[in-house]
Structure formats: C-alpha cells, structure tokens
C-alpha cells in the first residue's frame, strides 16, 4: 500500500509552555483508518493542526500524498478534509451556503448535485436552508463533516468526532466513517475512548505527552491492551493458588483474602469465568465478592512505557 501521509520527526513547542510534540514520526497508509488514541493534552490536535496547516511546526517535515505541506501546500491541502474538535460555524449562514463556501475555498467550481448528495448522506438535506444556530450539536457536527467532504478529499481528519455525542449519533458517525473508507478515503481520527478506536480503526497510534508510543494493528494491540482483571474476594485467606486452579491465569491479590484473574475480552474468546468460579468452589474456597476492572487508558500507558518498545 502507498503511504498517504508521512510525518517525520515533527516537534512543536508553543510560545507558552513545554513541548507539545517531541520528534513524532508516523506513516499513514492510503485507505486505512488510523485512530490516534491518547488522553487530553497528549498532542493529538496539535499533530493534526500541523498536518493541516493551522499550526506551524517547530521542526520536522510532513508530506501528504507526496506533497510537502509547507513548500507545496496547495497540492497537499487539496487532498485534505478537516473536521475540527471544536464546533465552529457562522451562526447566521445557511447550511447549504457554508458547504458551498468550503468547496469554493478548495478551488472547485460550484456543484450543487454533489453537495446535495453529501447532505443527503449525512441526513442534512432537510436542514439545508436552516441557519447554523438553529441546529443541535450533533447536526452541527454533521455540517462540519459535510464541509470537510465538500471538495471530495482523499484524506479526512476527524478530531474527536464523538466527544460529547450521544450513543446513537456515535454509531451513526462510525457508519459514516466506514462508508468513507469503503470509498477509499484515508481517515485519521482522534479519540480518548479505547472502545472507539477498537470499533473502527485498522491501526491505532497511541500518543501521550507529545510522543507516539506505538502504532499497531488494532487486533494485535487490543490483545495486549484490552486486559480485564477480576478480583475474587474470599472468605478466608489463601497462601498459595490451589493446584486445581493452575490452568487459570491467577495470581494472589494484595489482600491475603483475594485472588486476581487476568483475561482478555474479545469477540469470539470466552474467558471461561463460569468454569473458573465453579472450579474455585470445588477447590473448597468460599467466595465473598467478585469485581472486575478494565485497565484504564492511564494503566495502559503505564504498561506501554514499562514495556520495551517494539
């Protein structure tokens, strides 16, 4: 597959504050969905802003479709559609007009047929004559997507498309993304929800404190990151794990009255909790309580930083 976006040792330090990006290198393949996963302040928006021309980089080089984003910015930007994190729309302008503006800005002649198609696909056609200020938050976000798609881009950036969006709309958003992928659009989206990255991304790039920690195929990464733990509290202390339970990935908990069971939840993989619980009772241990916890994004970062990088 061809490389669509190449980010080479990009760094950024804002006038105020410490480095927002440190030597970030990343290569994005044509037609893939890449999720940039990282907590708030990780540098996701900064990275996108640099690629799209909103922010100047302090060092490094970025190309899109082989075009340098600085020296050959026209060719590079023509390929890109950007849906920003913050909703920003001219309040009194009508939906259709703002979408037309976007298309014109990207150097294309007016094409009401294409705009109609885009608006219909985003369920915005009924709202085409509405002023932006009359729209709900979810609708506004769709308008931003329509604007980003107005010039038929080959690359689409979605900066936290589902932050603060209700569940139904989130599912819609995912459908839109999959549909675009099917049409060959390269998609980069940022999120701080692991589940979201897992649900739609082909690859996941994990970013924290301005550094890319790794970029990996989603399935492979989820195997490592999507760990769950079940803490089994017992009525009496145990000193060692009974031999009959050796086949489970069990360890002694911090509390002498507890055992910790680690497992991975993934579609098609049964963790075998039922069997474990019945084996525990067969081993003569009596349960007091059971709780599960999923590793949070923060835990995962701790793990990733501890692990030697591939």
């Amino acid at each position: 597959m061809a490389t669509m976006i190449s980010v080479e040792t990009v760094s950024k330090t804002y006038a105020s504050g410490p480095a927002a990006l440190t030597d970030v290198s990343l290569s994005i393949e044509q037609g893939e969905i890449l999720a940039l996963l990282g907590p708030n302040g990780a540098g996701k928006t900064t990275l996108i802003s640099i690629i799209c021309g909103l922010t100047t980089m302090s060092g490094g080089r970025v190309t899109v479709g082989g075009h340098d984003v600085i020296t050959d910015y026209r060719a590079a930007r023509r390929l890109i559609g950007l849906v920003p994190q913050e909703i920003a729309l001219e309040p009194f302008e009508r939906v259709q007009n703002t979408v037309r503006l976007s298309r014109g800005l990207f150097g294309l002649p007016r094409d009401d047929g294409y705009i109609e198609e885009t608006l219909r696909k985003l369920s915005l056609w009924d709202k085409r004559a509405a002023q932006s200020l009359e729209l709900s938050g979810g609708m506004k976000r769709r308008v931003l997507i329509a604007k980003a798609l107005s010039h038929e881009p080959e690359v689409l950036f979605l900066d936290e498309p589902t932050a603060g969006v209700d569940v139904e709309l989130r599912k819609d958003m995912w459908d839109i993304v999959r549909d675009l992928k099917a049409r060959g659009v390269t998609i980069i989206l940022t999120t701080h929800y692991i589940e979201e990255a897992e649900a739609i991304a082909d690859r996941i790039g994990v970013i924290n404190k301005g550094e890319i920690l790794l970029v990996e195929e989603t399935a492979a990464l989820m195997k490592r990151m999507g760990q769950k733990q079940m803490v089994i509290e017992l009525q009496a202390p145990v000193d060692a794990i009974p031999a009959s339970l050796a086949k489970y990935d069990l360890s002694l908990g911090d509390d002498p009255c507890s055992l910790v069971y680690s497992y991975v939840t993934q579609a098609g993989r049964r963790p075998g909790i039922t069997a474990l619980l019945s084996d525990i009772s067969d081993a003569g241990l009596r349960l007091r309580d059971v709780q599960t916890r999923q590793s949070s994004l923060e835990d995962i970062f701790v793990d990733l930083v501890k692990e030697p990088r591939a």
Binding site: L54, E90, L105
Partner: protein, 253 residues
C-alpha cells in the same frame, strides 16, 4: 491563483451584507441627513461659501470620505475578526489559498460594501444640495482606492484585535479624529498658519483634498501628493498583511 476561492469568500462575505442590507443602507442615509441638518444648516448659515463653493456642497466630499473610511475599517475588520472569534478561521487556514486570495476576497467584499455606501451618501447629498462633479472618473477612482486601502487597514486591525474592544479602539481613537481634523468640514486654508503646517502631517488631509478636487477642482495640497499618499498607504497595508501571513502573526500558533 485559486479564483474559485476568491469568488467563494467574496460571495460569502457579501451574503452577510445582503442579510443586513436595510441596516446597511438606512443608517448611512440617516447619518448623512443629520450631518446636513447640523453642519449644513447651522454652520452653513454663518459660512456661506468656501472658495466659491457653497458650504453645503463643500462638505459633501469630506462627508463621503468620513463614512467610507469608517465603514471600510468596520466592515473589513469585522469580516476577518469574526471567523477568528467564532473559530471558523480554521477552514481558511487549512484551505489551499494564499494570503493574496484571502485578502482579495475579504477586502474586496468590504470595499464593495463601503463603495456602495459612499454612492448612496452621494445620492442622498444630492437631494440636499445642488452640486456638480467636475472629474467623475477621478472621483470614482479616488473613492475606490480609499475603500480598498482602508479595507486593507481594517483587515489588519481585525487580525490584530483580540477582543471586540480592541476592534473599536483604533477607529475610535485614531481614525475618526484624523478624519475630522483632516479638513472634512473645512478648508485647511481657513486655519492659522501654524495649524496648517501641523495638519500636513495628517495623512487623511491628502485623501480628502484629492477627493474634493475631483468634485470642484479645489485642493488644499497638490494632487500628486494626494495620489502618492493613498498609493503609499495601500502599499504599506499590503506589506503588513504579507508579513502577517508569512509569520502567522495572531492567526497561527
């Protein structure tokens, strides 16, 4: 050149004007009429003529300049400040457009609006005082250049401003006084000699003088200086805007 982008920006900005067309037209008509009532009637009854032109007719070019300069700055500064304020500037910055195209679109729209207002005021003034325009083409050229150069200046203010107060600051504190003291309502020759010299440091004097010349063939300063002043001011603004976009000053981090 990305012509479609220029056209798109221009059309989008003009749409704002059409949305508020009644305010845009009615307010200059009312304020012009007020000036005529106050200056024309009150002062004109004491000063009947300035250099052979009736006072009412004499103030028309200055009055148009006052409105056109104020309007150009207000339109252009708001035009670019607003996208910055509401965040829609992201689209401009991420589009394949050069600073020249952005400026052409925004400044073109702002200048068009103030040119329209200038002509409306001219029409309104015509209802109050009989007057003739000796050099109509020169008049239009001066008017257009003034609209353009002050729209450029307004564009700079819009980029510089961090809040709505700053947006008003320069027009209020610097431009309006300069216009009032620039001979909009009097001839420089009516001032004491010392003030005549001081006034020559006011760039607006050159604009008003040149514009008035196109009406009545009367000028406070030589026509060449007027042309030079307005062209120089335009170049200065263009240079500043070129620098702003090259460095991303107040628009990019």
């Amino acid at each position: 050149m990305n012509w479609w982008a220029i056209a798109a920006i221009y059309r989008f900005e003009m749409a704002r004007t059409w949305r508020t067309i009644w305010q845009s037209v009615v307010s200059p008509v009312i304020s012009t009429s007020l000036y005529f009532v106050v200056f024309g009637a009150a002062i004109g009854s004491r000063i009947s003529e300035v250099e052979g032109v009736s006072y009412g007719a004499f103030i028309v070019p200055g009055l148009i300049m006052l409105s056109v300069i104020t309007q150009s700055i207000a339109n252009a500064s708001f035009g670019i400040y607003f996208p910055k304020f509401i965040g829609t500037i992201y689209e401009l910055l991420s589009a394949p457009v050069s600073f020249l195209e952005i400026v052409t679109g925004y400044v073109g729209a702002a200048a068009t609006k103030s040119l329209m207002i200038g002509l409306i005021i001219l029409g309104t003034a015509h209802l109050f005082v009989p007057m003739q325009i000796q050099y109509p083409l020169a008049m239009l050229a001066f008017l257009t250049l003034t609209c353009l150069s002050f729209s450029l200046f307004g564009f700079i203010i819009g980029i510089w401003a961090r809040n709505f107060e700053q947006l008003q600051l320069i027009p209020l504190l610097i431009v309006t006084p300069l216009v009032f003291l620039g001979g909009a309502f009097y001839s420089i020759s009516m001032l004491p000699p010392v003030w005549q010299t001081i006034t020559l440091f006011n760039p607006v004097v050159y604009l008003i003088s040149g514009f008035r010349w196109s009406f009545y063939g009367l000028a406070d300063v030589a026509l060449g200086w007027s042309l030079l002043a307005i062209l120089g001011f335009t170049c200065l603004c263009l240079g500043a805007i070129w620098w702003i976009f090259r460095t991303g000053w107040r628009i990019k981090n």
